[in-house]
Symmetry: C2
Amino acid sequence: MNERPIGVFDSGVGGLTVFKALEAALPDESMVYLGDTARVPYGTKSPETVARYAREAAHFLARQRVKLLVVACNSASSVGLEALTAEVDFPVVGVIRPGAKAAVELTDSGRIGVIGTRATIDSHAYTHAIRELRPDAEIVSQACPLFVPLAEEGWTHDDVTYRVAERYLTAFEGVEVDAVVLGCTHYPLLKDVIGQTLGSAVRLVDSAESVAAEVAAMLHGDSSLSAEGTPRTADHHFFVTDVPGPFQVVAERFLGRRIERLERASIEGE
Amino acid sequence: MNERPIGVFDSGVGGLTVFKALEAALPDESMVYLGDTARVPYGTKSPETVARYAREAAHFLARQRVKLLVVACNSASSVGLEALTAEVDFPVVGVIRPGAKAAVELTDSGRIGVIGTRATIDSHAYTHAIRELRPDAEIVSQACPLFVPLAEEGWTHDDVTYRVAERYLTAFEGVEVDAVVLGCTHYPLLKDVIGQTLGSAVRLVDSAESVAAEVAAMLHGDSSLSAEGTPRTADHHFFVTDVPGPFQVVAERFLGRRIERLERASIEGE
């Protein structure tokens, strides 16, 4: 048994989708969430810079004595978790491998689409992870840089967003993919637009549940689960690197409850 | 006479519009440009965080021995240059006052529109600056968060961008503004879309030239101009906080020449 918290790290608010899935799967676990809202987004930045930010986040969460770190950000997960794992003394779980696994399980044809930020797509991390599980998979990737700002603007069912989606998703025309990985934590917010544009024959892969299942399996395997008992919701601790106000609004709306423990953290140079 | 360089600071590449205007107005001056590409954008961040980043940039440029600092970023200019000025021993010029001045000169009716990032609009900096020059001005402001990502995606003449512009710029319907301040260095890239949406009766205010004129007047007034002679283009020095590659591509395209001296800088905690 291990009563230490699970660390969840994202560039901003997007990782709350993974946080929520973890909370549902592991109600006995307490969690520490860190959103790097002062430096968001990561998806437009270089692998070196994103890797440095992820390292600083990991060091900060190490000081919070987490027993396992979930890198909920696709861009950060795609620039090398191996180096990160070597620097800390707890397991590190990214979203790429669980997402790839879910995609391989969902596809029939083996033709898989991947959408994400420029950083995630340019890293080819999903392509490698999918090929490892299914070497004959045919993979088409497409960066969708406007999806994050559109989701943040709240235009999740807007005519403009449909047009942008049509533009980006023509990348899959003629390939007949039957599964598309939502390779960015913001994209589930645009599920309706993306789903309607791709058509009902295409399954959308949201890695949040897949990540939660992997974390549960790892903690179980290591005998590192917390003791069973009352839900630990009140023990969760949230940190952001910019002022907490805007995060609080979004997080409370998304989680459907008040957030008690939310603080600003300085992680630069950690 | 003062041969030290002029410092130009922006959150990313957008400040090159101001840099170019300065170069045209003051060909005898050498310049140091700093783009905080590792933390861009500023327009979505809190005033506290943006002010801290601006302070770090000013300290870095102080070490480059600049004689004057131009804050080319609207978001950074709008969160208090007074505090910044108090910390350094050279003059600091923002883009807000020159932009406001240009708007007041261009308007006939006194009805002025302002568009910018969320940070710039929420600061009301343009409203205050315009009212100081023309107390009876009627000012309508509108944040346009999608304009920066659309410009960065290169969709400067795209159907989608026209639709987004129509949506945002309905804010000016019925007000009959005759001048609109492009309160973000990226927006001149969308001049055609914005201009066509607003109609030809509305003048667009791009503060770059106005800033250059103010800097020229200040240096002249202080007897701080460099000696006249051959253009100093080759002496300009560029710094970015993320890897230089992507900046180089955009900057060379925008300036129409090769950039020789471009380096990565670390300014966190300056």
